[in-house]
Amino acid sequence: MISIRNISKRYGAGSRSILAVDGVSLEVNAGEVLGFLGPNGAGKSTTMKMVTGFLTPTSGSAVVCGRDVVDDPVGVKSVIGYLPEGAPNYPDMTPAAFLDFIGQIRGFKGSEKKRKIDAVVERVHIGGVMRQPIETLSKGFKRRVGLAQAMLHEPPVLILDEPTDGLDPNQKHEVRNVIRELASRGDVNSGRAVVLSTHILEEVEAVCTRAVIIAKGKVLVDGTPAQLRSMSKYHNAVTLTVIPPLNAGGEPLNIAKEFAAITWVADVEDQGVRHVPVSAAGPGGPRQTCTLVPRGGRPLLADVTSFAKGRGWTIETIAVEGGRLDDVFREMTMRDREPARETMKAGGAR
């Protein structure tokens, strides 16, 4: 439904110009909820602004529902529902007047307009504040008014720029529910394509079927949230807490070092030893927690449990990690800063 072809945007001209988006290509199909991830200034918003026809691409193009954004911007705008960053709206207007204005612009009249407005008001639950000026509403309500504006004409394509930014956890949860509902409640035949940008990784997990990481104007990763997680070095890592045996001197054995001997363990992150008082839950004494990072993402659970059992250690808790999205995010978006960090480390060691 959305086809972005090698789109670029350069702000300014000459030597001081900035290439905000550098040849991004993407296809978004009906039924997909695509999470657009990236650090601030990565080019997420600029890409969205080009797809929605607000900015003209410097090169390349975007086609939405068969309409080219450069040749037919008004046509593209009529099939998109767009929530700009920060959900701007006219503070002096009431939601009722504001949605009526949007309805008129979208070409609805009379009873059809009323029906559309009623439906969207119901969906985002703003019925109680329809007669209050928007500037007097809470942030959560303002955001919902913005969503209502974007959804009023039941567009096949929905583009939301940081829809939950600045909301409290409850409001975030609500907005995410609305988004999820939207994606699944599209036309039976075609479904709806939703693109949302965020820098909150949990959001991708919560609502997206696909995630794209973008940094410095380029697409770095494109996959499902699960695929993304599996790129983390913590994918299939095992975190466990063990009651370490005491050595001859009465000191607890450092099990982190022992676990490093397992062939498929690439790295052991020792989270230290803590002392637990005797309680109904178990015997007192030292507990050591460590995370075992696998080589090449190989599942470790079986190896680790049999290793511990073979030595007679008691495993108190054990958990397998799916991978950490923030880890992948950092890894991907900080990649070209890596050499600098390496040198710093080396210098510090000496």
Partner: protein, 244 residues
Amino acid sequence: MKGLVPVFRRELSGYFTTPVALVFIVIFLFLAGVFTFQLGAFFERGQADLVVFFNFHPWLYLFLIPAVSMRLWAEERKTGTIELLLTLPISLAAAVVGKFLAAWGFVAIALALTFPLWITTNYLGNPDNGVILAGYLGSFLMAGAFLAIGSCISATTKSQVIAFIVSVVICLLFMLAGLKEVQGFVSGWLPLEAVKVIGSFSFLSRFEAISKGVLDLRDMIFFGSIIAVFVAATGVVVNMKKAE
């Protein structure tokens, strides 16, 4: 132009949902009255016409019109609603013209509310109502020209204060272009043709003719062209500056 009517309606009703409309209209009517009766000595003149009333309009507009036009685009850019407006399925022209017409319509309402003066004049004497009508038409056209300039300036900045001040200065230049002093100042170093061209841009001299009942087609075309050029320029500036 699809979308022009909703944009016009939203913008115009926007004046009335805030105190802007009330404050503007009250001050406009008050100042118009003060100028006409006190400075213009409307009664003492003993003539049944509205010449003194119209004579002060350029000065009234100089400060009041930029106050209306300053928010047209500066506010949209400041609050980010410009992104909302320009991603709705309407053309840029519909947005620019719709907003301009709303501001013009608002000023027309304020101007129309000076009707008691017209009634008074007709009650006291037998004025030439054709001349008065011409005066109103000229005043309306001149307001449109001021507004178009202000709209264009408003699109260049996010700050309403800057939009106001720059608009006042530029409108003042247009007003005074025909005065002897200005002409004398530029004639020292500009060729005669250029001085004439500058003089021909004078709002004051053109409006003076209209307010006396001389409806010259050239003057009307002049104001019409100023409006068209600056509204078109507004579109160009909005398009250029929207990303910032």
